[in-house]
Symmetry: C2
Subunit: 563 residues, 2 copies
């Protein structure tokens, strides 16, 4: 059995859990009627299952390679990318005036879930291109928008983001790439960038790089960074790829996974670029791109988890060792855990997308705050679940899981980068307990209120599950009050466990909603029971860790730890 | 910085935590004086750091390969194996009459910890050979012993274990390989075996296979299985490798990791073998080999975790992103967690080894029961920690962790098989809650009593840590009482979380001992605080899962889970 897009689960989450109905009810997204969304998702699923998933193994076995300075992609990737572009899937949420479908992010993220499960290495290309479209839409001049966005939406060109340099990873402010005004409105960009995903390829006719660089005399740190658009080929008068720009791919990285996605070391050697947004405001513009990408990366975790989960379930139903192993209680435990985690992570990701859409549609600050609060949770939990579920999928396969030909190890390797890129999960957690709770935790408390109201309403039908959730919410509220009273080092030492606890409580909330949607009886209720009774209790362990503060870990110097 | 054997930590565990003194005080192991053990471990560490660790990367980059039917090993492997053999390290615990050192398993397992950290792919060879020596020692005829054991100890020959067949993995009883008496006391072995670790190599002059097979008319299942020794080359009259036996390596597996360890598909085509032990009692004989190997695999997890932990600490002290990242609270959290987990897993493994040694020295059933009870815990927790710590080590490295040249991803890939082989961790957990608790949990209660006595004694010095441990022990006792009252399906659905909870409480116990050994003040006390305050609370979540029973997961059919 091969990958099947989880259409049923996604539709259920949209209809009953997130709920997407509120988005569709706004004027802004009035065109996202149930029928339209249904048709769109069905079409996307067909593409993912029939065209994209079949090339996933090729990417792993025949990695992208650098040949005379040009990146040659894995067999079938160009065709599959062509099909994605042709279907209009890159521009699902892009503005209609430039050729996009202008649909809600919630629909886009549902599609990213499916595309990631089908082929993560390939999905990265449209995901980053979407981020670039969004950044240009918000910060670029009309001229640049008109020139680049249609080409990006159509998939003729693709987009990249260039932040990292060898000395500047999580500390973006340490970057050294220079931009010198050429006097004609353009700039000469010089510097080296690393970890540039899809920095070049043969699936598009041009690559549009968004590059962070420093203007002469710019302030040190993040306040002196500007954003530039630097195409591989300079557009000619008709907007078609013209003269080659002064940039090149130096090498491709040899990675643990995602072999089908070319990760480039890029060298800019006085390459011509144009300013996007204001001088020295590059970080803000880049964050537009990254925030979108962060939720997208969370959905990558969900998508790979889904694919790994399916593969494990299929194998467990086939593999006979004193009966099919799916009937062994320990294997069933793993399968049920995997499925319950995937559901929770999917619901959190799509719930974040709904908040972003609602903000776009209504302009209400409360929705903006919710989207901002849920983004790091969706990114970190989604990718943690991606790793955890593909790890369990390997385990379900036993010895066969360790053999590359089986294919499940590819998920395990591919997904491992997702907790690292677009801001490590540690950085997500620090963002959550730092910037996103600067106001004292407003967004957290609102989520908890909503949760308690749902728990209250569910008490008559599912008293045990509702009770567990209610207690968890109370404990989380106390921990939140404690946390917001701490200084930053103490918050940061507990940031990751706090985020995990919050995600787990939210996951339980969405499972309870799912159970209530079927009247507290049926397969979704059984799954909710597995999550709430067996997996939710971990939240308390996470909170115990978070509330230990920073003193105990900081008391151990690196020398103490060296053993 | 490269791998440094954790001599200090091992010595501390032996002296103050396990404690090894009791073993050295027995007449059986009177020669294992502190000075001798110190000298032995120091010498082994020198070998691991100077000779074995340097070839670890070669194994990954230049995998073992099959060339004209012969396995060619990775560059440097033959020399490193030669040095291990020459130092007498294969026979650390083997009988002196055949050339072994006859030292306690605790010393041997300390060395396996170091060898695994240095090069897991290579360590597998001596580990399996040791298992074979032990199986022969207990079950083979004097003639076979005299012929094979000295060659195995000297490293002229190496040993393998052949259980698995395509249709017979965890269900060993499903195997089909046949053994037909040839009338001269030997047997003709015919069948195919898979996943045969170090099934052939150029580092030895002969390979001695222990093969499970069925005699004509043998009962179905595990009761009809016998054990045979089947050498690659039939020994001539002088015991030297003579005529080639009718067996061959069909292919090598292409694995997620451990590329330096040749994993063979073996074909026996009427190969000549000799019975080891009694007819149809092969499983019992194989278990002698596997029990040894299980603890050894647990130490593999510890060793790889140690190596990954060191690499992460080194990197975190070098990598500058707004100050060295080791000083960032979230990174320090990860480093402290890793170190605390490694210590706990090491202490549990060596504590199991002490029990096995004490049983050997005293013959007391209580020690046998303890060793039997701790073996699955040491195997599963050691390998879980191996995976968890190498996973965190990748995360500490950020983007660099995903690049293969960095080297940390190798640990992540290599160690992933350890929760699978020698009985999956699920099987370990079922062994624990099933067979090992058939008597109602005697061994569990004795461990808890010891723990509570220690907690009581520590109360005056470290009241908070002692109190936490005491409560955990009480909760675990209640859960144990509950568990032993359940039927097997319910136990099995909670087996893995129960094992994890037990391991965590034991880990806390050994951390408390370490803290008390330094008077409740210092680096080990700080580490104990991290483990007990931050990581111990997970035990309650595991027990909540275990106590949920099997109904909730079994209520979800595989069809329900398919989504």
């Amino acid at each position: 059995m091969t990958y099947r897009s989880p259409l049923g689960d996604i539709r259920f989450v949209l209809d009953h859990v997130v709920p997407f109905g509120a988005v569709a009810a706004t004027e802004r997204f009035a065109e996202a009627t149930p029928d339209t969304v249904e048709a769109i998702l069905t079409e996307a699923a067909k593409l993912c299952d029939g065209v994209v998933a079949p090339v996933n193994g090729n990417g792993d076995k025949t990695p992208a390679r650098l040949e005379n300075g040009v990146v040659r992609t894995s067999p079938g990737f160009a065709e599959a990318f062509g099909a994605i572009a042709e279907g209009g899937w890159i521009g699902v949420s892009a503005p209609a005036e430039h050729g996009g479908m202008d649909l809600p992010q919630t629909v886009n993220m549902s599609i990213q879930d499916m595309l990631s499960g089908a082929c993560l290495a390939l999905q990265l290309n449209p995901l980053l291109t979407q981020g670039q479209i969004e950044a240009l839409e918000h910060h670029a001049s009309e001229e640049i928008k008109a020139l680049y966005i249609p080409k990006l939406i159509s998939g003729e060109w693709s987009g990249t983001m260039n932040l990292t340099e060898p000395q500047a990873g999580s500390d973006v402010g340490a970057l050294r790439t220079k931009a010198e005004p050429k006097g004609d409105g353009s700039y000469a960009i010089t510097g080296q960038k690393i970890f540039i995903t899809w920095g070049d390829s043969d699936v598009v006719s041009n690559v549009s790089h968004l590059v962070l660089a420093r203007l002469p005399g710019a302030a040190a740190g993040t306040k002196g960074i500007s954003l530039f658009i630097v195409p591989k080929y300079l557009p000619d008068a008709d907007g078609n790829p013209g003269k080659a720009n002064a940039l090149k791919v130096v090498s491709l990285e040899h990675k643990l996974g995602l072999h089908g996605s070319p990760t480039c070391v890029m060298s800019y050697e006085g390459a011509t670029g144009w300013l996007v947004g204001e001088e020295n405001k590059g970080m803000a513009a880049m964050f537009t791109m990254m925030n979108n990408a962060r939720l997208g990366v969370g959905m990558q975790g969900v998508g790979v988890a889904e694919a790994a989960c399916q593969k494990a379930i299929d194998y467990a139903q086939e593999r006979n060792q004193m009966g099919v192993i799916a009937d062994h209680p320990d294997v069933r435990r793993m399968l049920a855990t995997m499925r319950a985690e995937v559901f929770a992570a999917r619901a959190i990701g799509l719930s974040c997308a709904v908040a972003l859409d609602m903000h776009k549609a209504t302009g209400e600050g409360e929705w903006a705050a919710r989207g901002a609060f849920l983004t790091p949770i969706a990114k970190a939990y989604g990718t943690d679940v991606g790793c955890m579920v593909s790890e369990m999928a390997v385990q379900v396969h036993g010895g066969m899981g360790y053999i590359e030909e089986t294919g499940v190890a590819q998920f395990y390797r591919d997904v491992r980068v997702t907790p690292i890129y677009e801001g490590t999960n540690g950085i997500q957690a620090m963002d959550l307990v730092g910037r996103k709770m600067m106001d004292g935790g407003e967004a957290a408390y609102r989520l908890l209120e909503e949760l308690e109201a749902d728990a209250e309403a569910a008490r008559a039908v599912l008293p045990d599950l509702a009770g567990d959730l209610w207690s968890a919410a109370e404990t989380l509220r106390e921990a939140t009050e404690w946390l917001t009273g701490q200084d930053m080092p103490a918050r940061f030492a507990g940031a990751v466990p706090y985020l995990r606890a919050f995600a787990r409580v939210l996951g339980a909330h969405y499972h309870l909603r799912a159970a209530m949607a079927e009247g507290g009886k049926g397969a979704r209720t059984n799954l909710a029971r597995v999550y709430i009774r067996r997996l939710l209790p971990m939240y308390a362990a996470h909170l115990a860790e978070a509330r230990d503060g920073g003193a105990s870990v900081m008391a151990l110097s690196p020398d103490d730890l060296a053993a």
